[in-house]
Subunit: 417 residues, 2 copies
Amino acid sequence: MTDAGEERVAGGGLLHRRALLVAGALSTGGLVTAVRAASQAQSPASMRDPGAPLSGYGARVHTSEAIQRIVPDLPFPGTGSSRTPLQLLEGTITPNDLHFERHHNGIPEIDPAMHELLVHGLVRQPLLFRYEDLLRYPRESRILFLECSGNSGTLAAAQPVQASAGQLNGLISAAEWTGVRLSTLLDEAGIAPSARWVQAEGADAAGMTRSIPLSLCLEDAMIALFQNGEPLRPAQGFPMRLLLPGIEGNASIKWLRRLKLIAAPAFSREETSKYSDLRPDGKAELFSLRMGVKSIILSPSFGLDLQGAGYREISGLAWSGRGRVRKVEVSADGGASWAEAALGDPVLPKALTRFRMPWRWEGGPAVLMSRATDETGAVQPLRAAWRAHYGAGQGYHSNAVQSWAIDSQGKVAHVYV
Amino acid sequence: MTDAGEERVAGGGLLHRRALLVAGALSTGGLVTAVRAASQAQSPASMRDPGAPLSGYGARVHTSEAIQRIVPDLPFPGTGSSRTPLQLLEGTITPNDLHFERHHNGIPEIDPAMHELLVHGLVRQPLLFRYEDLLRYPRESRILFLECSGNSGTLAAAQPVQASAGQLNGLISAAEWTGVRLSTLLDEAGIAPSARWVQAEGADAAGMTRSIPLSLCLEDAMIALFQNGEPLRPAQGFPMRLLLPGIEGNASIKWLRRLKLIAAPAFSREETSKYSDLRPDGKAELFSLRMGVKSIILSPSFGLDLQGAGYREISGLAWSGRGRVRKVEVSADGGASWAEAALGDPVLPKALTRFRMPWRWEGGPAVLMSRATDETGAVQPLRAAWRAHYGAGQGYHSNAVQSWAIDSQGKVAHVYV
């Protein structure tokens, strides 16, 4: 087949999005095999004997068992993080088994019948909510991303770390969360006029605590009880967690036991010694809670080298803590030219958006980059601009454009452009 | 607390949807506990010792292990169906482990390196697609429901079957599917002008085969390769399955090995001896493939009896094979009065939509019903109208309104109204 008539939209072989959308517009250039004589003359073994039985709870295909979260060696096995292997997954929903985790002192086992959520401080009437109380409240369901503020932190390293897209960026996942609007509970307790912040505390052995502006708690915060349909898992905060859409993950306190309304932030350990952003002038930005606009290319990416020239799809994920992704631009020539990718439908606010760009790799060197813009007009910064904003060693809120170089053998490397 | 000022929208205690949306509009009527003296003076055990370690692949909370698909006793353990326990889940996405299954001769184990998809018949050039070929094609991701045409078939029984919502209706699930548009592959093979139907065949030991109108295959059909992010599971057709949005599940052939373009339907076993709809005049409707507009109340439902009067949420799922759900009406008085439920955002075409209705149960007898309308204006029929359309014994395409009676003790029963 020929690729004559393909519409090029930028350098390095990027094709018009129409190639994804219109039958006939795509010339794959011989990916498939014209039928051989006597093809499929014999039925496969799978058709000759009855297959395996039905079951109450499903299992993955054997070859998928290699799809695991990335867990580093840790001095304390419950303190640290596991990362979602983004480059091995598709779409925008993360299976619960593969959602990233970040724990500060392990995963507690909590009996829901013994668990209570206390709402107190600057309220008209302190209230205690049991799990079974919350199950009777009105619920909402939303598909949302959750991202650790330390995600992609190694982009601050002097040399680009050679690691998979999930190893570099896998502290993000997405799920359909169901729970009770936090505003409903706060309203029931009665917010005192002097309340401006909410201190949230978890029932884990870290006593994980964060101060959150009251405005965020009233905007769209949720007490999550279910994730992708099933009750929360222990690692995601069972029986209940705070969920702050678009906000750095550590503030969405798991195993939530206490919400104290206060007039000023508490300046707890997790908002002073950690989770603050050092500037070049030596001062730190505090409570920089909202996650920036960001995108990453997952296919191709490090470890998924190209097998031969020809047609393929560049695809990845984009998101913004401010709302919807408006566009994602892709470059195949290291930023010299850009073209707009197709966005998966629907584009949801504070959720992951899959972008796709048809591409004909000619077999020569290429540098792939993606750059997202959100509905507020915020644009994902280049690495130099991102670094210039912060002091040395800053690894939080790393949302710079990332680059994959492809050599003429199809090998993919992480590079700084 | 008082419920004075609550806005009633229909009989039996149905409240205005505003109660879900506006802080302050909801009076829960004392679901929670005002704080006792010395509450939370002692931190819980979970805060005293480090918790469990991180892991590569997650696990459910112990109490969730009771959430299993419903599998009947079967003479052949791989021939039959397992049902999603809908009443125990939330939101609209079904975890892959709990997606319903319907197999006609067990679950085959297929080596993807040996699997081929043949496209032949009335085409310009027969083609063979290997799994690795398809992985290079442009992909799309869509959240879609899949429903067995036999779902809710027991509604034809003379007496209402007393069973859970999942047992009665659990042959439906939803997932984010990712794959290749079927139109892309057919276009590459070249559709002959005489082609009108496509015969799809699976590589299972049933050789499951269906004839599908070519128009459906060109509209929005997909060769699915991923489900909720991960590669298809064996039980869902690994390495590839046909996926026909909005169409009865058995036509979405799993373990797809062959697509033959033909001029007229093949009248195979699965479209003559089964999956046809008997009318009162003794004739059968064939190829009634599209699933109708439907809704079911999951909470409360059989087995989930009410514990005491007061505020709670009525919630359930609605869907239509024709597109989006436009509205869901709920009745608490056996159909004497109806009020419109709140629909979860976004309402996606051919996907599940969660509906919610605030309700104050006064403690007396009630009969709960839900009735969906889709964007084409089609309305879910009452059971009498649905039965009148078909002959005796018809259990396919059962989309009639269902009813749960609640007695003064809060016990829920399945009833015909």
